[in-house]
Amino acid sequence: MSARFQAGERVRIDTRAEPRHHRVPSFVKGHAGIVERVCGANPLPEQVAYADPDGETRTVYRVRLNQRDLWPDYGGAANDTLEIEIFEHWLKEA
């Protein structure tokens, strides 16, 4: 499966609401970061959680976010970061 984004690319995590199981915590939705690495393709949580026999797979990315962007009142150091795995269909170019 070809990956849409590459390591080092700036991406934004979508803000859409998803009532199904989807593994994107709300605190990162809408935030932009850098693709730290491209991981393998994995079963879509939105399908696999419901044992969908036609479940697809999507590429997973590790996205690095700056803590000061996530939390405006972040009390730690300016270069503190958070990395999180995000499926491709939750990312867009930033």
Binding site: R23, G76, A77, L82, F87
Partner: protein, 210 residues
């Protein structure tokens, strides 16, 4: 057998201790499901017991710490571990589990700490079952929000010029922190090194102490 107290009153004469609370609805559903699966022959009670024993055999001391100690003494192994952690762990004769394993190396300028904000994802094949605090709402909510304060509560003060990187293990990967080898351990055997690598060192809420 000494049997000089009445069983009619469960609260006396011993002080009452709630050691047999009724199970929650969710727990009851789990028990019922397990009994049904056994009844239908999907697996046996013996399979279940064996699986539990298998899970309990994995401990941070016998599994994860061995990986760290080997990485400290063997640069070629460490290089492979950073490149393909699951493969390297297999080379040691350990089961890396079904999920892709990624090793996070602490350096003088970077401290890594792992959480799963959505549930309790954890490298169980290397560290066994997660501690209760790892699954607690408080740890999951706070370590992403104020990691330095949480680490300080664990007794770990990270200097301001060291980057703290929180890894939210929310999807398909599992993470093991590779702590820095402490000074004063030159010439130590792998076993001796492994003994200072505690579970929390591999989650990132502690560093090895000599």
């Amino acid at each position: 057998m000494a049997h000089d107290h009445s069983h009619d009153n469960p609260h006396g004469p011993h002080p009452y201790q709630p050691d047999h609370e009724p199970p929650s609805e969710v727990a009851l559903r789990g028990l019922a499901l397990n009994e049904l699966l056994i009844e239908k022959g999907i697996y046996s009670a013996d399979d279940m017991r064996r699986k539990i024993e298998q899970i309990e055999q994995v401990t941070p001391e016998t599994h994860g710490a061995r990986v760290v100690a080997r990485a400290w003494v063997d640069p070629a192994f460490k290089a492979r571990l950073m490149d393909n952690a699951s493969g390297a762990v297999k080379d040691l004769g350990l089961d890396p589990g079904y999920a892709e394993l990624t090793v996070l190396e602490n350096t003088p300028g970077l401290h890594n700490v792992v959480v799963c904000t959505l549930c309790s994802c954890y490298p169980r094949w290397l560290l066994g079952r997660p501690p209760a605090w790892y699954k607690s709402f408080e740890y999951r909510a706070r370590v992403v929000r104020e990691p330095r304060a949480v680490l300080a509560e664990f007794g770990l003060d990270i200097a301001a010029d060291v980057e703290v990187r929180v890894h939210d293990s929310t999807a398909e990967l599992r993470y093991l922190v590779l702590p820095m080898r402490p000074e004063g351990t030159d010439g130590w055997s792998e076993d001796r090194l492994a003994a200072i690598v505690t579970r929390d060192c591999m989650i990132g809420t502690a560093v090895p102490q000599v």
